[in-house]
Point group: C2
Chain length 252, copies 2
């Protein structure tokens, strides 16, 4: 870990520990989780609080994330051209399918839903926006991963593979085969791999250079989605091709 500012790194780690906790946290608990002295954690908190990144509950002296992070997070979205650009396409797709439609992007070795439009049906599936998940886990993510360099794929598959249902893919070789198949046919469809009874259909968005960093997917209860899957595949592909073309992509 050279040329890294240790206290800055610690402050980042501190903020991120709040992601895995639903409650406020105190100095002692943070000091345990981060393996830092209480004094150091306290100084970190004082500094972060003075900048609005952390706020302290006066009643119980516990700390939680501050509103400045809300501002910054929102700014990420507003600076994110693609979500602005893709919005009308998502809306159109949501209207014609009535199912959950998501815009997924890659960030390092994770995937994130940066936008979504919920299904109108009373019985519908839901995803959590803005939360990271592994690139091998969902249709929307795999359809991005499939177009990455082999080194990236190998690096990700050489790590621990998390499973979510009894059907989740867990064999690296099997996943790799599947990725090649996706690359061949240009889309992905899967059921039960992330959530039982749920089917996702996803296609990649290409930028002007042909690189894939994002995808659009339709997700819904299998008994509604599977009977019309060919129609949905056609619609997602039509949408992502139109977007890719408007982004300057000149491929098939």
């Amino acid at each position: 870990m050279d040329n890294h500012l240790s206290s800055v790194k610690n402050s980042c780690r501190l903020l991120k520990t709040f992601l895995d906790s639903d409650k406020e946290m105190g100095v002692s608990e943070l000091s345990r989780q981060l393996q830092l002295s209480k004094g150091a954690v306290h100084k970190l908190l004082m500094t972060l609080e003075s900048e609005g990144f952390i706020k302290q509950n006066p009643a119980n002296k516990q700390y939680s994330l501050g509103y400045t992070l809300l501002e910054l997070g929102n700014k990420v979205l507003r600076n994110h051209d693609l979500s602005e650009f893709a919005k009308p396409f998502l809306r159109k797709l949501a209207e014609s399918t009535n199912e959950l439609v998501c815009l997924c992007v890659q960030d390092e070795f994770d995937a994130i839903y940066v936008d979504k439009i919920d299904s109108k049906y009373p019985i519908r599936f839901n995803v959590e926006a803005y939360r990271r998940f592994p690139l091998y886990a969902t249709s929307a993510a795999r359809v991005i991963l499939a177009f990455q360099d082999d080194e990236v794929i190998d690096h990700i598959l050489s790590g621990e593979i998390r499973t979510f249902t009894p059907y989740s893919l867990k064999d690296p070789a099997g996943i790799k085969e599947r990725l090649h198949a996706i690359r061949q046919r240009g889309y992905e469809m899967s059921s039960n791999l992330r959530n039982e009874g749920v089917t996702g259909i996803a296609a990649p968005i290409r930028d002007a250079n042909g690189a894939v960093n994002a995808s659009i997917s339709i997700i819904g209860p299998s008994d509604r989605v599977v009977p019309v899957y060919q129609n949905f595949i056609d619609q997602v592909l039509a949408t992502t091709r139109e977007i890719s073309s408007q982004l300057g992509y000149r491929g098939k």
Copy 2:
């Protein structure tokens, strides 16, 4: 600036400079804005990037905010009990008024809209959620400020007063009078102070101790809102009183 970690403070300042810029920024520009050496800024960026708080565009080497901030910002909202709790009340109010309805909270010496439901009318006014603004600037904010301690009020009014329209309040003494009036009657209504042709009606939410940290407001074009203002005042007051009461407030 004692017992503050300077590099952490710098990293916070660095992230916040992106709030006032709509584009990516490079080392040199940041170094100028922050008055830090290029080397120092570079190290900050490397560290923040390794934690996902910053990302670099490989094409032009410029930097922008990273997706981890999106995660953290979203977490702030999910941890914010009030917005979850107030949601159904907002929806009801939006449905019966058809105008923009906002939930506003105080953070230090600023106000932030943490939730809103847009008007259904084709001609409608819009606010930017999650962005700070001064506590004296809008109805929603003033109705919170009015119930703060005098020291807080004086501190805020002793600073620079920003104006937004030719009608914006700018005389500290006049604002203070207005705040007292708000306190008397329990709500605020104003036109043209933040945006010309726009009228806001706001009432405070009280917690179990009677403290005011949030408000609900109805905002819309004056020619639609003013004619029915008494009705809207009654509805906002009924809503905030119901919420306050459910939060444990036992006042009038």
